[in-house]
C-alpha cells in the first residue's frame, strides 16, 4: 500500500497535467488543433476575406493592414499577397491590393459560409452570442460547396446573419442594407438596430452585455464629450463614443421607441398586452413562446410567483404557463392605459 502522501502527490501531478492538456481553449490539445488547422489554404482564405472586407467599403487594402488583421509579420503578409496574385485572385492596384473578379467571387462564397454558420449557431444551438464569430471562423474552411448549400436549405435561405450582415446568395448577390452608424445620430433621433459589429470581440461582448440586440429601437438622449447616452427598451445606457460606430441603425421616428414595460414588471394580479417579442429572444426559445400564444396583441396576466420567486406563472390564452424572469424580460408590453382592442 503506497504512502498516502505520495499517492496524493502523484494524483495532483496527473490531474495538473490533464488540465494543462485538455483545458477547453488554452490547453495543449486545443492549441495543437488550432495550429494544425491553420494550413496554407486557411491562411489564404483568411487573407482573401480580409481583402474583401477592406475594399467593400471602398477603402484600400494594404500589406500592413493584412499583417495586422491576421497577426502575422509583414513579410508573411506580403508572401500571402504574392500567392493570391499568382492564383489570379488579387492584383496590385495603385498603393494597395484589389480583388479580381474571381477573387471576389471566392471571397463572397467564404462570407456566405461564415454568415450561414453564424445564423445556424444563433438559431439552432444554445451557443453564446460572443462565440458565434469565432466558431464560424473555424468551421467555414472545412465545408464543401454542397454542405454549404445543404445548410442554407436547412436554415430556410436566411438573408441576414445574427449580427445583421447580409448573407450573399449562392450566385453572389447581396441583399440591400441601408443604415447609418450610431455615431451619425443627433440627440433626440431614434433608430432600429440593424447591425452590430462582431469584431473586435471585446467590443461585441461589451455591446452584448449592455443588452443590445438586432431589431431593438433606441433613442439618442445626449452626446456628451466621449460618451453617447441612449435609451433602449426602457433602459438608459452610456456607451463610449469610440465604439458607437459598431452599431448600425436605420432611422425611425423617435416616439415609437418608448417601450418601457416588459412582462417582468407585472406583479401578481396585473394584466398587460404584448407589444412585441424582443429580438434578443431567438431560435427555439422564440418559436416556443410564439406557439404558446405570446404574440402581439395577447393579454397576459401574472398569476403567482413560485416559492423561490422565479419563475412566475402567467395566464396566456387560457392556459397557465411558467416563465423565467429572463424570458419575461423579452416580452415587451404596450404602455399601461392603452385603449382596448377592437374585437377581431
Amino acid at each position: 500500500m503506497p504512502d498516502p502522501r505520495t499517492a496524493l502527490l502523484v494524483f495532483a501531478l496527473v490531474a495538473g497535467v490533464l488540465l494543462l492538456v485538455a483545458w477547453p481553449r488554452r490547453g495543449l490539445v486545443a492549441r495543437v488543433r488550432r495550429l494544425r488547422r491553420l494550413t496554407e489554404r486557411v491562411r489564404l482564405e483568411d487573407a482573401l476575406k480580409h481583402l474583401y472586407h477592406a475594399t467593400a467599403a471602398g477603402g484600400l487594402a494594404t500589406a500592413d493592414g493584412l499583417a495586422g488583421a491576421l497577426q502575422v509579420p509583414r513579410a508573411r503578409a506580403l508572401d500571402l499577397l504574392a500567392r493570391l496574385e499568382a492564383r489570379g485572385l488579387a492584383r496590385a492596384d495603385g498603393a494597395g491590393v484589389a480583388l479580381t473578379d474571381e477573387g471576389r467571387a471566392y471571397a463572397l462564397r467564404l462570407v456566405r459560409t461564415h454568415r450561414l454558420l453564424e445564423h445556424f449557431l444563433a438559431d439552432r444551438t444554445g451557443v453564446q452570442p460572443a462565440e458565434w464569430h469565432d466558431l464560424a471562423e473555424e468551421r467555414e474552411h472545412e465545408m464543401t460547396g454542397a454542405q454549404v448549400e445543404a445548410l442554407a436549405a436547412r436554415l430556410g435561405q436566411p438573408r441576414y446573419d445574427p449580427h445583421g450582415d447580409p448573407i450573399p446568395t449562392a450566385t453572389g448577390e447581396l441583399p440591400a442594407h441601408d443604415g447609418v452608424p450610431l455615431s451619425a445620430l443627433a440627440a433626440g433621433e431614434g433608430g432600429t438596430i440593424v447591425h452590430i459589429e462582431d469584431e473586435p470581440r471585446e467590443v461585441f461582448e461589451r455591446l452584448q452585455r449592455e443588452g443590445l440586440a438586432l431589431g431593438q429601437l433606441l433613442v439618442v438622449r445626449e452626446l456628451a464629450g466621449s460618451a453617447v447616452e441612449v435609451e433602449v427598451e426602457g433602459r438608459v445606457l452610456t456607451l463610449p463614443r469610440v465604439i458607437a460606430p459598431a452599431v448600425t441603425v436605420v432611422r425611425r421616428p423617435a416616439e415609437r421607441t418608448m417601450s418601457p414595460r416588459t412582462l417582468a414588471a407585472l406583479r401578481p394580479g396585473e394584466t398587460g398586452r404584448v407589444a412585441r417579442l424582443s429580438a434578443a429572444c431567438h431560435g427555439a426559445q422564440r418559436r416556443r413562446l410564439l406557439d404558446l400564444g405570446v404574440v402581439p396583441g395577447t393579454d397576459v396576466t401574472a398569476e403567482f410567483a413560485s416559492a423561490a420567486g422565479d419563475p412566475v406563472a402567467y395566464r396566456v390564452r387560457g392556459a397557465l404557463v411558467a416563465l423565467r424572469r429572463q424570458q419575461a424580460a423579452w416580452i415587451e408590453l404596450e404602455p399601461a392605459g392603452a385603449p382596448p382592442r377592437e374585437a377581431a
Binding site: R288, S306, R317
Partner: protein, 742 residues
C-alpha cells in the same frame, strides 16, 4: 385480408408512405390519427377508443413513443395512431416533425384533434393548423367535466359551425361521448359527412399577397392539391421536408391522390420542371419577406382562435369551484408554505416506500430464495453439475434477488408518484425548484426525474421525456445516476449499520447509520447539481435550449387507472428489462466462482489482480470484482461480495457453495465475516461512496442509449460517475490514512 382489399381508399404511393412511417398496412379499413396539445387527456381518449387492444413502440428512427390500436366500428376495423402531443405543427422539434409528417404524408382517413375545453383558445392553434393540412378532421372537445367544474361552458355545436368540421364533446375518463366520437369518425371516414373546414386567411395584407403568389405557383404545378395554401405557407417558411416533397415528386403523388378517381386515373407525374418552378417562386417570394414572417403567421392564427373562442365559450359560470384551484396553488407555491409542503409530501412518499416495502421484500425473498431455490436445486439434480449450477445457482438466483429487492419498493413508489402527477402537483414542484436548477444550467423538471431516479434510474431516464428542451434533457439523463436508486438502499443501510453504527455507543447507532445514509443521499444530490453545472459549461455548451413549463389545472386523480398505468407501464416494464440483464449476470457470477485455473478459481485470480487498485482507493479486490460482475444490477452487489469473501477467505460453513450468492441473517454476522476479511470503517465508508458514485447499471446504460440514440452520450454517462467515484474514494482513503497516523 390482402393489402389491396384492406386499404380501400388507398391509391398507389400511400402504402409506401405508410410503410416508411412504420404503419403496417394489413388488416384495417380506415386509418385515424390522434393529435392534440400535451395534457389534454389524449391518451385517455385513445384508451377509451381502443381498450386494451393497443401496443406501444417508437416511431422509426426516432426516440418518440407511439401507440397504435384498433377498434371496430359499424363492422369496419379502424386503426388508431396516437401522435405525440404538440403545441403546433411548425416542425421545430422532433415531436412536431413526426406529427406533421404523419398527417401530411400518411394521409390518415380521419385526423382527430383532441382539445382541452378548459384551455380552448390555446388548443385551437393546433386545430387550426391541422385544418390547413387536411379536410377530414373530427374535433374531440375533451375534459368537458373539468370545464364544468371550472365554470366554463363551450358550445360544441357553435364550435362545429365556426370550424366547419364535426365537433364531439367528451369526458373520456368518464366514458361520456365516446360512442358519438366513434360515430363521427365513421361518418367522416366513409364520406357520409363532408367537412368544409374553416381556414385562417386573415393574415396581414403583405403576408397574404406573398402567400397568394406561391399558392398560385403550387396550384399551377399540382392541380387538385387540397392544401395548396398550407404548402405555400410551408415553402415560404423554407420547410425542408416540404421542399423535398416538391422536388422529388412526392407532393405530386399526393395531388394525384386528391383528384377524384376516374376510370382511367393515372397519377400525374410531377416533372422536375414543375417542382423547380414552384421552388423558384417560393424563393423569390421569400426574398421579399419581412424578417418577422413567422411571428405574423402565428399572430394570424391566434387572432382567429381568439375570435372563435369568444363566440363559443362562456366563463365565470361558477366562481366557487374555480377558487379551489387558486387556493391550492397559493398553498403549494407560496413563499411560506410551498417548500415545507413539498418536503413533507416527498418525505411521506419516501417513508411509505421504505417502510411499506420491507415486509413484502422479505416475504418475496423468503419465497423465491429460501423455498423455491432449494426445490429447483433438487429438481436440477439430474442435470450435469455445471449446467444445474449456472441455471439454478446463477441465473435463477440473481433474477430472484433482483425481483425481490426491486419489485416491492417500485410497486409502491411509482403509483404514489403517478398519483401526484395525475393530480397536477408535480409541475408545481418543478415550478418551485426551477430557480435552483436554473443556476446549474438545468430545468426545474429535472427535480421530478431526479425523484423518479430514487425509485429506479432507468425509469428516471425515461421520465426525462417530459423535458422537451434538448440540452436540459441531456443534462437530466446524464446526471440521473446520482439519485440513489432502490437497488442501492439495502447496500447503504447494511454497510452503514455494520461499519459506521458500530463506531458509536449502541444508543446512537441507529441514528448515526440513518444519518449516514441520508448524508450519502444528499451528497448524491449535490453531485447532481455540480455535474449539471459542469456539463452545461463544457460538453453541452452548444446544445439548443428552450425553457417552458406549463401548469395544468388540478384534476382529481383516478386511483385504479393510475395503479394500472404505473404498474404496467413503469414497474413491470422496468422490471422486465432488469431481469433480462440480471439473468446473464447470475451466470457470470457462478462461472467466476467455479471455473478453476491453475489451482484457484477465476474469482480468486481476478480478486488478486484487482486488489492493489482496490486498496489504493480504500476498497479491496473483492468489492471491485463484485461491482464489475454486478454491473447489471446493484441489488446483487452485497450477496456477491459475501460469496466472494467466503470464497477467497476459505471460510468454512458459511454460504451455500462456490459461486452461489447468499445473505446472512443479521447485520452482526455480516460484520463478523467482513471484518474477518480485513474490512475496516474506511472500507465501509468508501463502499458507501462508491455505491453512490459509480457507473449506472446496465439496464440504465441501455435505456440511456435508447433515449439519446448516441454512443457518445452513453459513454459520458458511464465515465462521468465512475471518474467521480474513483476520485472521491481515492481522496477520502488518503485523507483517512494520513489522519489515522502516518
Amino acid at each position: 385480408m390482402t393489402a389491396a382489399t384492406a386499404c380501400r381508399t388507398c391509391a398507389p404511393g400511400r402504402e409506401e408512405a405508410l410503410v416508411q412511417l412504420g404503419v403496417s398496412t394489413g388488416r384495417w379499413d380506415y386509418l385515424v390519427a390522434l393529435a392534440g396539445n400535451p395534457n389534454t387527456g389524449k391518451s385517455t381518449v385513445f384508451n377509451a377508443l381502443t381498450g386494451l387492444r393497443q401496443h406501444t413502440g417508437n416511431w422509426p428512427g426516432k426516440t418518440v413513443t407511439r401507440a397504435e390500436g384498433v377498434f371496430a366500428s359499424h363492422g369496419r376495423r379502424v386503426k388508431l395512431v396516437d401522435l405525440p402531443g404538440t403545441y403546433s405543427l411548425q416542425a421545430g422539434s422532433t415531436d412536431e416533425e413526426v406529427a406533421r409528417d404523419f398527417i401530411l404524408f400518411g394521409r390518415p382517413d380521419v385526423t382527430v384533434v383532441v382539445l382541452d375545453a378548459t384551455r380552448l383558445e390555446r388548443n385551437l392553434n393546433l386545430a387550426l393548423q391541422v385544418l390547413e393540412i387536411t379536410d377530414r378532421v373530427v374535433i374531440c372537445l375533451n375534459l368537458m367535466d373539468e370545464a364544468r367544474r371550472h365554470g366554463i361552458a363551450v358550445d360544441p355545436v357553435a364550435l362545429g359551425r365556426e370550424l366547419g368540421v364535426p365537433v364531439v364533446a367528451t369526458s373520456a375518463r368518464r366514458g361520456e361521448g365516446v360512442d358519438a366520437l366513434r360515430q363521427a369518425i365513421h361518418d367522416v371516414a366513409t364520406g357520409a359527412v363532408q367537412p368544409r373546414p374553416f381556414r385562417v386567411t386573415r393574415h396581414d395584407p403583405a403576408v397574404e399577397a406573398l402567400v397568394g403568389e406561391v399558392r398560385e405557383a403550387v396550384e399551377a404545378a399540382f392541380p387538385g392539391l387540397p392544401n395548396a395554401r398550407w404548402v405555400a405557407l410551408r415553402l415560404l417558411n423554407a420547410d425542408e421536408r416540404v421542399e423535398e416533397a416538391v422536388r422529388s415528386g412526392e407532393l405530386a403523388r399526393l395531388a394525384g391522390l386528391a383528384a377524384p378517381a376516374t376510370a382511367a386515373a393515372t397519377v400525374p407525374a410531377g416533372t422536375p420542371a414543375d417542382g423547380a418552378a414552384v421552388l423558384a417562386a417560393a424563393s423569390a417570394a421569400r426574398w421579399k419577406l419581412q424578417p418577422d414572417f413567422h411571428d405574423r403567421l402565428t399572430q394570424g392564427i391566434y387572432g382567429a382562435a381568439e375570435r372563435i373562442t369568444r363566440a363559443v365559450q362562456l366563463t365565470g359560470l361558477r366562481r366557487a369551484r374555480f377558487d379551489l384551484d387558486r387556493t391550492l396553488d397559493r398553498l403549494l407555491t407560496s413563499r411560506v408554505t410551498g417548500f415545507p409542503v413539498m418536503l413533507l409530501l416527498l418525505g411521506v412518499v419516501f417513508w411509505l416506500t421504505i417502510a411499506g416495502a420491507n415486509v413484502p421484500s422479505a416475504l418475496l425473498a423468503d419465497l423465491l430464495i429460501d423455498r423455491v431455490h432449494p426445490l429447483l436445486r433438487a429438481a436440477a439434480a439430474g442435470l450435469p453439475w455445471w449446467l444445474g449450477g449456472i441455471l439454478v445457482d446463477g441465473v435463477y438466483l440473481a433474477t430472484a434477488w433482483v425481483v425481490s429487492v426491486m419489485l416491492p419498493p417500485m410497486a409502491i413508489f411509482f403509483p404514489l408518484f403517478t398519483l401526484l402527477e395525475d393530480f397536477g402537483y408535480l409541475p408545481r414542484v418543478a415550478f418551485n425548484l426551477d430557480a435552483l436548477f436554473r443556476r446549474a444550467g438545468a430545468h426545474g423538471k429535472q427535480a421530478l426525474t431526479m425523484c423518479m431516479g430514487f425509485g429506479c434510474n432507468a425509469a428516471g431516464v425515461v421520465a426525462t421525456r417530459i423535458i422537451d428542451s434538448p440540452r436540459e434533457r441531456l443534462v437530466a439523463i446524464l446526471t440521473n445516476n446520482f439519485s440513489l436508486c432502490n437497488g442501492r438502499w439495502p447496500t447503504q443501510i447494511l454497510v452503514a449499520s455494520v461499519f459506521l453504527g458500530s463506531l458509536v455507543p449502541a444508543a446512537f447507532a441507529g441514528l448515526v447509520s440513518a444519518g449516514a445514509v441520508v448524508g450519502i443521499t444528499l451528497l448524491g444530490v449535490a453531485a447532481m447539481f455540480a455535474s449539471s453545472w459542469l456539463l452545461t459549461r463544457t460538453v453541452l455548451r452548444g446544445e439548443a435550449t428552450s425553457f417552458s413549463l406549463e401548469l395544468p389545472p388540478y384534476r382529481p386523480p383516478r386511483l385504479l387507472q393510475t395503479l394500472y398505468t404505473s404498474l404496467v407501464d413503469r414497474t413491470l416494464i422496468v422490471l422486465w428489462r432488469a431481469v433480462v440483464f440480471a439473468a446473464p449476470a447470475g451466470a457470470v457470477i457462478w462461472l467466476v466462482g467455479n471455473v478453476r485455473a491453475g489451482g484457484a478459481s477465476l474469482a480468486e485470480h481476478l480478486v488478486g489482480w484487482l486488489d492493489p487498485l482496490g486498496v489504493l482507493i480504500g476498497l479491496n479486490g473483492v468489492i471491485l470484482l463484485a461491482y464489475v460482475v454486478a454491473i447489471p444490477a446493484n441489488e446483487i452487489v452485497i450477496p456477491t461480495v459475501l460469496m466472494l469473501t467466503v470464497l477467497t477467505q476459505g471460510v468454512a460453513g458459511v454460504g451455500a457453495g462456490a459461486g452461489v450468492m447468499f445473505e446472512l441473517e443479521s447485520a452482526a454476522q455480516v460484520g463478523e465475516l467482513l471484518r474477518g476479511a480485513g474490512w475496516t470503517a474506511l472500507t465501509g465508508l468508501n463502499l458507501m461512496l462508491f455505491s453512490l458514485l459509480h457507473n449506472p447499471c446496465s439496464t440504465t446504460i441501455y435505456t440511456i442509449y435508447r433515449e439519446t440514440g448516441s454512443v457518445k452520450w452513453t459513454v459520458v454517462s458511464v465515465l462521468l460517475p465512475l471518474a467521480l467515484g474513483f476520485t472521491a474514494t481515492f481522496l477520502v482513503a488518503q485523507a483517512w490514512r494520513i489522519a489515522a497516523g502516518g
